[in-house]
């Protein structure tokens, strides 16, 4: 029960709404998150949901503070419970100072531990008074505002954003519903805001999730074509791009399956468009068929994998970082590639931009590997975190009509797969005069024509891998670093665990434990961590999978054993939980 409550350094508030899928949990949470954001507070949200349209427990949690928050913690202060299960599911996070808002008129009898503050609000009846039972969650938001002393007016803008399209009457009813909830608590309870002081600031923040950041990054980078097949949790990238990409002359197409989606995206890339597909779970397995073709035809393509819990159908709405080996090694034969794994929501944006540049500069597939936790988590940022003036576009060796001549052989054939010093060949797109050529998944010569001749084979394999080596030399493959660079213990993470680790540092510091955190966004090529690991007494690799796929890679790179923290429950790491795990791991013997 709230074991880490004493760590509440950021003066954060942890709030949640939970109920059945179909109860409007997601939109209720989002409205509250937006209201907090409008009040100049930072928020970090997390969702727990099942893969069903209706039925099954679902919740939306918000951690909010005036300082930036990057993780959830094992502590819940205010809970809006639409079902008893919502209370039961969260008992270990609730503490004696927690308040639980519930509707005592509903059929279930709320069992709430005595030491907590039970706030019985007739949500449905009050909502009906305000204009309709459907607004009961908004009544609950009003009640939550009163309990914490948060000005209910901050909800207004969020309600306008959410319901504006349905007419002013609906918006006004919802505003009224919030106020009715607030009034009810004010008149019936004397809670004195439970000691909370929800400070506000003048800051203007934007609130978005990782998939929205990837979609926005794609538009910023000039992506014009997206083909995909709906699959949780990747679909929201497609939904973000649909409509918006058309404003720039682009198009989203829903393919009949992932086999088709990646091939459509490849076709558009052959046409010269910046092109992307995204998928998850079994979808990436289907796409694997085409990885080799993308690489051997030297087609610039961004392939996004928003990892979810596997194998097979696994836990489709749960977190996992289980696809690292697939991203690194997927596909028969040897497939040159880049693998980039953004470590935060802002990085989802910037690494997407970078992925498109890498793809075109090196005419190589780029795997952008995100995960479910990042895709559904909404977080606040100052808008400058996505400064569009900083976006750079590099299209690589794209040749125009005037440059074709220098790449023709003696017979006038365009050398689309010319063997060059840096491995990168000229790229001519359809319509370029005198540069018509073929590309193929067969091994080929410089002209793209099939060959099984030994020298040609070796030249082509070498030149494709030389592109990766060129990139290794010319691009930055840096890691991100947090904590104390001189600390004797080193924590390494990849992908979305960064935020929880950064917050875990505060808990560790409290306990007098000093660590250095290295967060790695580049999986291939990746930074060489030999020096860092050799300098450390203990190295722990943190990842959301059972076998330690990144730890394996690091051990092989550095030829030394590391300790591992693995979580494969389907839920992302929490900051306080990580701090505990690290503390415990540091006392263990290094594996033999």
């Amino acid at each position: 029960m709230g074991g880490k409550a004493q760590h509440n350094m950021a003066e954060d508030l942890n709030w949640a709404v939970g109920g059945e899928a179909g109860d409007g949990i997601d939109s209720t949470g989002k409205i509250f998150a937006q209201a907090l954001s409008r009040a100049g507070r930072h928020v970090f949200t997390s969702k727990d949901f099942a893969s069903r349209i209706r039925g099954g427990y679902t919740s939306y949690k918000i951690r909010t503070s005036v300082e930036q928050v990057q993780s959830v913690v094992d502590r819940l202060d205010i809970l809006v419970a639409l079902t008893q299960r919502t209370i039961d599911e969260n008992l270990d996070e609730l503490h004696e100072g927690s308040a639980i808002i519930y509707d005592g008129e509903r059929s279930w009898e709320a069992e709430i531990p005595d030491e907590m503050t039970a706030v019985d609000v007739p949500l449905k009846s009050l909502a009906e008074e305000a204009g309709g039972a459907i607004m009961r969650n908004i009544v609950a938001l009003g009640a939550a505002c009163e309990i914490t002393g948060f000005d209910v007016e901050y909800l207004d803008e969020a309600l306008e954003k959410r319901f504006g399209g349905k007419g002013s009457k609906i918006v006004e009813n919802n505003k009224e519903a919030a106020r009715v909830g607030q009034e009810y608590v004010r008149e019936n309870y004397d809670l004195d805001h439970l000691g909370y002081n929800i400070e506000t600031t003048d800051s203007d923040y934007v609130l978005l999730n990782g998939n929205e950041a990837i979609g926005m990054g794609a538009l910023a980078a000039g992506c014009r074509f997206y083909a995909g097949y709906p699959i949780t949790p990747a679909t929201s990238i497609m939904e973000y791009l649909t409509g918006r990409i058309d404003d720039y002359g682009g198009h989203v197409v829903q393919a009949e399956d992932e086999l088709s989606a990646i091939n459509m995206a490849l076709g558009a890339a052959r046409s010269g468009a910046r092109s992307m597909t995204a998928t998850s779970g079994a979808g990436i397995d289907l796409m694997t068929e085409t990885f080799g073709l993308v690489a051997t035809s030297e087609t610039p393509l961004v392939i996004t994998d928003v990892q979810r819990s596997g194998p097979s159908t696994g836990m489709p709405t749960k977190q996992e970082q289980g696809d690292l080996n697939m991203a690194l090694y997927g596909g028969h034969g040897e497939v040159p590639r880049f693998v980039v794994a953004p470590t935060s929501i802002t990085e989802c944006f910037w690494k997407t931009v970078e992925a498109f540049n890498l793809a075109e500069k090196y005419q190589t597939p780029v795997f952008l590997v995100s995960d479910l936790a990042m895709s559904v988590t909404e977080q606040t940022f100052p808008p400058e975190a996505f400064d569009m003036d900083e976006v750079e576009i590099d299209r690589g060796k794209l040749v125009d009509d005037d440059e074709v001549d220098e790449w023709l052989d003696a017979q006038g054939h365009f050398r689309a797969h010319a063997v060059t010093e840096d491995g990168v060949s000229p790229r001519a797109i359809p319509g370029t005069t005198d540069a018509a050529h073929m590309s193929t998944g067969l091994e080929h010569d410089e002209l793209g024509r099939r060959t099984e001749e030994e020298d040609e084979r070796v030249h082509q394999v070498d030149k494709r891998y030389r592109k990766v080596e060129t990139a290794r030399e010319q691009e930055d493959w840096d890691y991100r670093e947090f904590g104390n660079a001189d600390a004797e213990n080193l924590i390494i993470s990849w992908g979305s665990n960064e935020g929880a680790l950064v917050e875990a540092l505060e808990y560790l510091e409290d306990d007098g434990i000093d660590v250095r955190v290295i967060s790695v966004p580049y999986i291939y090529p990746r930074p060489d961590l030999t020096e860092e690991i050799e300098a450390a007494a203990d190295t722990i690799v943190v990842e959301c999978n059972a076998t330690g796929q990144f730890a394996d890679v690091i051990e092989r790179d550095v030829l030394t054993r590391v300790k591992r923290i693995n979580k494969y429950t389907g839920v992302r790491f929490k900051a306080d939980e990580l701090a505990d795990a690290i503390t415990e791991k540091l006392t263990e013997e290094v594996p033999a």
Binding site: V206, R224, G249, M264, A273, P383, V391, I393, M438
Partner: protein
């Protein structure tokens, strides 16, 4: 350039390795003639080839081309055309590529009605793997993997196309050079997905569906007073399993190609050298 393009401009200097007498020679010649006759040139043409004997066509023709993964030629063609409506896209493959491993894509490409041409070299056999049953093989056709025949009815690709909402369905015979080229030409000029199933005999592994068989049995719809705009008439011809037809079976006069239906008309290869001017509006949406 296009006015003086000859069909041989679409020929590469690579010598085909198809068996002497293979139907694919005639199929390819007709495609090249049709492309030249419709004012295209190699620089504005994109050929997507499947896998199998037929898939080698991308090597023997001269144009922008991609020879891809088995069965996925139509999705590639779809992407090429959507990104570049100005490019003439022709997808070519075999009966295995189109009606077996790629059957799912065939159905959806047909109903999507992207303005491209799909030529299937149907020899009713798997040739490159040395003679196994294909989805269009006769049910009693004995092969190495079906010693007593597939014992399943062959796919009727024309009916599959019709059921999928096709806007243009035709069939030709590679050996009837002039008619074959004419039919491909009509498919190219059709506003939408132009589908042509071509009888392209395999002289090595199919001793049933031979040149002689088609010569003796082919009925040209041109001689039959057939109206391709008449859906019911088309249905009758397509479902008639007693005869082998050549010609345009069905053409929807009101076909609206994908790019018109969805407003996909831009050249997607052109992008600015930084984020779009109004890109900060994308960020501000998240206030």
């Amino acid at each position: 350039m296009s006015s003086d393009v000859r069909f041989t401009d679409f020929k590469s200097d690579k010598q085909p390795t198809w068996c002497p007498g293979c139907g694919d020679f005639g199929t390819m010649n007709g495609m090249m003639k049709a492309l030249a006759n419709t004012g295209n040139d190699p620089d504005n043409t994109f050929v997507v080839a499947g896998i199998g004997c037929s898939g080698k066509i991308g090597t023997y023709m001269h144009s922008y081309a991609l020879h891809g993964v088995h069965g996925r030629a139509l999705p590639v063609g779809t992407g090429v055309k959507m990104a570049r409506p100005d490019i003439e896209v022709m997808v070519a493959g075999g009966d295995g590529d189109g009606y077996s491993i790629g059957a799912g894509h065939f159905v959806h490409a047909v109903r999507r009605n992207v303005d491209m041409t799909y030529v299937v070299m149907d020899n009713r056999i798997y040739g490159l793997t040395k003679g196994q049953a294909s989805p269009t093989s006769r049910s009693d056709f004995e092969t190495s993997t079906t010693p007593e025949g597939p014992k399943q009815p062959p796919v009727n690709p024309l009916a599959l196309a019709l059921a999928s909402g096709a806007s243009f369905i035709a069939q030709s015979f590679s050996s009837d050079a002039m008619r074959h080229a004419e039919i491909i030409e009509e498919a190219i000029e059709h506003d939408g997905f132009g589908f042509v199933n071509v009888f392209s005999p395999c002289v090595t592994f199919n001793d049933v569906d031979t040149y002689d068989y088609f010569r003796d049995n082919l009925v040209d719809l041109q001689d039959e007073d057939h109206d391709p705009n008449d859906y019911e008439a088309a249905k009758g011809v397509i479902l008639d399993s007693d005869k082998e037809y050549q010609g345009v079976m069905y053409q929807n006069e009101n076909s609206v190609p994908y790019h018109e239906e969805h407003g996909v008309t831009e050249d997607m290869s052109e992008i600015p050298d930084g984020a779009p001017d109004d890109a900060m509006d994308l960020v501000r949406e998240f206030y």
